[in-house]
Subunit: 303 residues, 2 copies
């Protein structure tokens, strides 16, 4: 998976991932009206609106970016209908040649992690029928429970050529409350970074990068720099650009000298770009496309 | 929520929560056959089998236990159909008077956490229509991202009288890899325990316990004892009894002197009790009921 991602980043000359984190107030009125007319102001209506919106965004950016990152929470909040829209979004984006990073941040003990892992990046066995359910190419997971909670995902990464991005240093303001605590002379996020690096050793692809990557927030630049050094062959999934406040300059440190090693997420800044006064709602997809081109230029200016 | 849980524990004289973590090999053949005949060996068929199985278990134990804990991973692995079975299980258990602890272990940055929180323990707003989607009474969450990732859940606990159990010390073998690291002279799980205690201060109910509880594994007895001391008014959700190896003696330390303060989970030990040679598959519900009575006796012997 990591080799495909690296190839797509190089081919499109763009280390941008578009975060598909829709909210109803990001969705243009004409789309919502159509969805609510069919299904009412219900979870089903909202899910349909998300799916229509996502398809418009995907169509507008799929030739420009290597990957999309749907945030499952936005869909999960609407129950089964929402999960259906999440899965249909993934299907649609894959058809358009995009790599899927499912932002699910799961973390549970081994026997339970197996169920998450099989559902999302493996196959579920139903009395010897093998079913692919979510079909993400890679997912984010939480390391707080330790290696036995991560192993079931690593097994599926091996068996099905999938990838992981494990939370190391998140982009939110309070991330330091636990992640920055000093353990044996260094911050916890560094310790976790070393563990992730070790866990990924067996899964290094032809690109020189491991299928096991890390989530490293762009909002904490000096910490990202330390992690880059500790984890030279782990790809970073970098949230925090744009709406969360980080600039291209801040996140330059997330990249290696080869110009690779990081993929930068933007959600609101792209999918809600049409909120800028120069666009109308009907131009939501065009605005997203222009925002991607702008972001690509911005990132390239520091690389 | 915590006051209702405590009242139910006292009324039923039983601090047991039944973990509804079905797997296909726990479900009796006659149930699977019926479900697969209707829907095939598909995610829908498997989800239907889980729901039928859960209803049987719930009917058999609802007068004996205060709460059930469905593990969302088992359902989520089957996609939208699975999520539907999870929600229907919750609905059914609530009708039978049970408190629901949704074992979802979510953890994400604030704006995303809001979506999880509104979907699971609040209401989602769809253009001013307020919808209740999952309707758990309480859920488990992961603290690795810090307070701003927890706050959206605390807000809904206040607004909708819901509860949380935050992961502090989990029951799995590798839980110590991160949770036991020493930070500023004490283990990380103790630091997290102190944070959870602080976060819960505002939400202490008439029972003297906070709506914000903690997950503390029974498999680490001396650590649970330390946490009991640090967190006198936080309820413990205690996994690890039975199949994971902890005995009633091991988990005695999770309780306060008032005999309250902990609710002990058993999943396999109850829902798959019929696998014991003395039962047939048709007796799966009866076997679960007897396992609950056995467990209640066992717990009472140490309290």
């Amino acid at each position: 998976m990591i080799d495909i991602l690296v190839k797509e980043i190089q081919k499109k000359d763009n280390p941008t991932v578009v975060g598909l984190d829709p909210r109803l107030n990001f969705v243009p009125t004409f789309i919502k009206e159509e969805a609510f007319e069919k299904f009412g102001k219900t979870p089903k209506g909202a899910s349909e609106a998300f799916l229509m919106f996502n398809k418009g965004i995907i169509d507008a950016v799929s030739d420009l970016v290597p990957a999309v990152k749907p945030q499952v929470a936005m869909y999960e909040q609407y129950g089964a209908e929402g999960i259906n829209a999440y899965i249909e979004t993934i299907k649609y984006a894959k058809k358009k040649g995009l790599v899927i990073i499912g932002d699910i941040k799961r973390g549970d003990i081994a026997t339970t992690a197996e169920a998450y892992s099989d559902g999302h990046i493996g196959k579920v066995d139903i009395e010897d029928e093998q079913c692919i359910v979510y079909d993400e190419d890679s997912i984010t997971i939480n390391p707080y429970l330790g290696y036995d909670s991560v192993e079931p995902y690593i097994n599926n990464c091996k068996n099905f050529n999938r990838g992981l991005f494990i939370l190391v240093k998140t982009s939110n303001p309070n991330s330091g409350e636990i992640q920055d605590l000093i353990v044996e002379g260094e911050a916890l996020y560094k310790r976790v970074g070393r563990l992730v690096n070790k866990w990924g050793e067996e899964l290094i692809g032809n690109s020189g990068y491991s299928q096991i990557g890390a989530v490293v927030g762009a909002t904490h630049s000096s910490q990202a720099e330390e992690l880059r050094e500790i984890m030279p062959n782990n790809y970073f999934l970098v949230p925090g650009y744009g709406a969360q406040g980080a600039t291209a300059k801040d996140l330059k440190v997330c990249f290696n000298k080869d110009g690779l090693g990081a993929i930068v997420n933007s959600s609101r800044g792209i999918i809600a770009a049409y909120k800028n006064a120069k666009y109308t709602e009907l131009q939501f997809a065009e605005a997203a496309r222009e925002a991607v081109i702008e972001m690509q230029k911005d990132l390239k200016s520091v690389l």
